[in-house]
């Protein structure tokens, strides 16, 4: 009888063993809120706005883009409904001089595609693309960049390489 009572007590106690669920926050990586209007491609804190088309960072922190890549930029309150421009700062390294000679870059925001920006060659450059006011009504925009030249897979590296992005910025149209 005592054993039966003990067994019943264990079963009753067990009924309270159901654990409350507390999902671990680290199991998902949420999108950044709010979006930054200026992001640094080498800053891990801004990685959430490098949406697609970026290769893994190299040891020193910089990274290659693919021939097509996408970023999101926040639209600050002072830019809502006003004309602005996207500034894309990047590097064409010496090793890519021949492959990227005559490189043109396009940036598309929704259905708007301003004229392509042509790179002068090796070095650090800033491509600039105007954005009409009508596209800046929401909290952020998504920009699809396309390069018309890239470094094809070579040797053991199977990647298609674009440029080395440094910064993406959304600034007022009249910024000097």
């Amino acid at each position: 009888m005592r054993r039966a009572l003990a067994a019943a007590a264990i079963l009753l106690a067990a009924s309270g063993c159901r654990q409350a669920r507390h999902p671990d926050p680290s199991l998902t990586i949420e999108e950044p809120e709010p979006l930054q209007s200026s992001i640094d491609a080498t800053n891990p804190a801004d990685e959430g706005q490098l949406l697609d088309g970026f290769h893994a960072p190299e040891t020193a922190g910089w990274r290659w883009s693919a021939p097509q890549f996408t970023v999101s930029l926040g639209v600050p309150e002072n830019l809502r409904g006003k004309e602005a421009r996207i500034e894309f700062e990047f590097i064409v390294p010496e090793v890519a001089a021949r492959d990227l000679e005559g490189l043109s870059i396009t940036a598309r925001v929704e259905d708007h595609e301003p004229p392509a920006w042509r790179s002068p060659g090796v070095g650090t450059h800033t491509a600039v693309f105007p954005v009409p006011a009508a596209l800046l009504k929401e909290e952020g925009i998504i920009i699809d960049f396309t390069l018309d030249r890239f470094i094809p897979p070579r040797g053991g590296d199977t990647r298609r390489l674009g440029v080395i992005p440094k910064q993406f910025r959304l600034v007022p149209a009249n910024t000097k």
Binding site: C17, R21, S26, T28, I29, E30, L51, T70
Partner: protein, 619 residues
């Protein structure tokens, strides 16, 4: 020899200790595959009828394993939630009982402690037990083994003492076996075989066992639908002989790929062939020497594997879990006989048995490890999905980056345990291979219409699976969504939502809490299905006191009757579900018409009232 002493207690502990070592990973594996489906049964129980269906309605290829699957998962999930450890403890406790029973039976039948100690060890090392000890959905093998061994132990006591209580206990355990696994149907053959081997006669009381088995087999054949195609289709032909050979090969040498053979230059088939020939030789010797346990081992293996032999395209390692008790007796008796004949014979048998255990044991260990890893992946994915639902309550969760393995290992079934609709990005449907005979996975794939609607209304949360984590990609996902999807009609309507009115035709009253009343006829428009395999479901209600006589609800899709249901007091809250026809080329919309054959009259309310409809949706 039936009384056990201290030596026996120590010898009994050998096999459990060995199991703990061999199955260390397997015994800690998390839920995966069908485990989620069994646990999700408990999420839909709101009435006695639901409970009855959860316990007894045929599922998973028409099986009704009330004890080993329904009670096991429903009960432990209710008590402990998604903590896998109590589940494994129950499995382990049952298997320890099995090992103790096998020791006792073997000691009783052989009179040798060597044989009695060896049999549980050989059984434990075999490949058959790897999955049942690592995958909770295969607990049916362990529990059925318990029922068969315990019933057989009772049979032996009944034959020894003649006491009816032992026969009754045997009969009860045998019947309980049906609640564990259909293989229990072979028990009368096992009991009869032993009686014949021991006494050259069959006690008439055993006819009761045969009667119960015949009744179960008849009910199973008549009441449970059998798949005609796919891996669970039955083939009553010569392929059964080939399957029988394959199972012997599995039991004797496992099923490892060449890359994992313990001795790289010795193929698995060579080990299986050598051990198979040795089994035949030993069987012939044992027959002549009247070694009944060895012969019974062969009978046990053959009888216990027989029910799965028609499954030509589904030869599985865990199907030899129960039959391998027979091979354990064969091996243990061979060892003891060789031991008595001298060191050369003992060395020969030890060499062969060692090879067999090496290959089968390696397969066992590899399988257990694979299950552990699969459970780990399932755990990461499930908890990440749980977190996503927590962060975005009520949103549609669209997931990409799930490969075929993870889809079947966790995604397909685990998502039903969470309160939100979670589905796979339609672009990844091709990455999932649908095994032959499996039902369509269309409902697991997000439809274009629901993605469009969720994106339009800001209720979409998109994630990409990246090794152990889900990364939110909603902005990019919405950005890349084809624009035409955003203009599609919805795939589902919540009738209580005033916004649903845009998609409703004639025949509806104003929305109320929980739905809206329809007249005798009503229409709604949904998006046309985006592919074959979609199912339309309609949820509704009518007060039970108004359902005498019953009321018929008929559903038509684009003018053709698609389903109907008769409502009475027992199913006043109804759920009508039926497959949708394949989409017509170019069709954007689907017209759903509902018709009720008798209106409800409410004093003071002049409206024509059919039924309350809460949701119409396809997935």
């Amino acid at each position: 020899m039936t009384r056990l002493d201290r030596r026996d207690a120590l010898l009994i502990l050998l096999a459990p200790a060995f199991v703990l070592w061999l199955d260390w990973h397997g015994l800690r594996s998390w839920f995966h595959q069908d485990d989620f489906a069994w646990m999700s049964l408990g999420r839909h129980i709101e009435s006695f009828g639901d409970l009855w269906r959860a316990l007894f309605a045929p599922a998973a290829q028409g099986t009704v394993r009330v004890l080993s699957e329904r009670f096991f998962f429903l009960g432990l999930e209710r008590l402990f939630g998604l903590d896998h450890r109590p589940f494994h403890l129950v499995v382990l406790a049952t298997q320890f009982a099995n090992l103790a029973l096998l020791y006792w039976i073997t000691l009783r039948l052989s009179g040798s402690r060597l044989v009695a100690a060896a049999a549980p060890l050989v059984w434990s090392a075999g490949v058959g037990l790897a999955v049942p000890l690592a995958w909770l959905s295969a607990y049916n093998q362990v529990l059925c083994a318990f029922c068969l061994l315990a019933a057989f132990a009772c049979l032996l006591r009944w034959l020894e003492t003649g006491r009816r209580a032992w026969f009754a206990a045997q009969f009860t355990l045998f019947l309980l076996g049906f609640g564990a696994l259909e293989v229990a149907v072979v028990y009368p053959a096992l009991a009869t075989a032993w009686c014949w081997l021991e006494r050259r006669s069959m006690p008439r009381a055993l006819l009761w066992l045969w009667l119960a088995s015949a009744a179960f087999a008849a009910a199973h054949m008549l009441l449970i639908p059998k798949p005609a195609v796919g891996i669970y289709a039955r083939h009553w032909d010569l392929s059964m002989a080939r399957s029988y050979g394959q199972y012997w090969s599995l039991a004797l040498a496992g099923d490892l790929d060449p890359a994992h053979w313990p001795i790289p230059w010795m193929p698995r088939r060579v080990v299986a062939a050598a051990c198979g020939l040795a089994v035949l030789a030993w069987l012939a010797l044992a027959w002549r020497a009247r070694n009944r346990l060895a012969v019974f081992g062969f009978v046990w293996f053959t009888a216990a594997i027989a029910p799965v032999l028609p499954l030509r395209d589904h030869v599985m390692d865990y199907y030899v879990a129960i039959p391998s008790i027979g091979t354990a007796w064969l091996a243990a008796t061979a060892l003891a006989a060789a031991w008595r004949r001298g060191w050369k014979a003992a060395a020969g048998v030890c060499l062969l048995a060692g090879l067999s255990l090496l290959y089968a044991g390696a397969a066992h260990r590899t399988t257990a490890g694979w299950r552990y890893k699969r459970g780990l992946q399932a755990r990461y994915l499930f908890h990440a999905l749980e977190r996503a639902v927590d962060v975005h309550p009520g949103k549609l969760i669209a997931v990409s980056g799930i490969g075929n393995d993870l889809f079947w290992g966790a995604f397909a079934d685990s998502r039903h345990l969470l309160p939100s609709r979670i589905c796979l990005d339609p672009g990844e449907a091709d990455a999932v291979a649908l095994p032959a005979g499996f039902p369509s996975i269309a409902a697991d794939i997000c439809s274009t219409a629901e993605l469009g609607e969720a994106a339009r209304t800001g209720r979409l949360a998109a994630y990409r699976w990246e090794d152990r984590r889900l990364r939110a990609i909603t902005r990019l996902y919405v950005h890349r969504l084809p624009r035409e999807w955003l203009d599609l009609p919805p795939s589902g309507l919540d009738l209580a939502d005033p916004a649903a009115a845009r998609w409703l035709g004639s025949g509806w009253h104003e929305p109320e809490e929980g739905g809206r009343w329809m007249r005798l006829r009503a229409e709604a428009t949904l998006a046309a299905p985006d592919g074959p395999g979609r199912r339309l479901s309609i949820h509704g209600y009518r007060p039970p006191e108004t359902l005498d006589p019953p009321v018929r609800v008929t559903a038509r899709v684009d003018g053709a009757e698609a389903g109907r249901i008769l409502l009475d007091a027992s199913n006043a809250a109804f759920h009508l579900e039926f497959p949708l026809p394949a989409p017509k080329p170019g069709a954007r919309t689907l017209r759903v018409e509902l018709e009720v054959d008798r209106a409800l009259q409410v004093p003071g309310d002049r409206r024509e009232l059919g039924v309350v409809v809460s949701r119409i949706a396809w997935q």
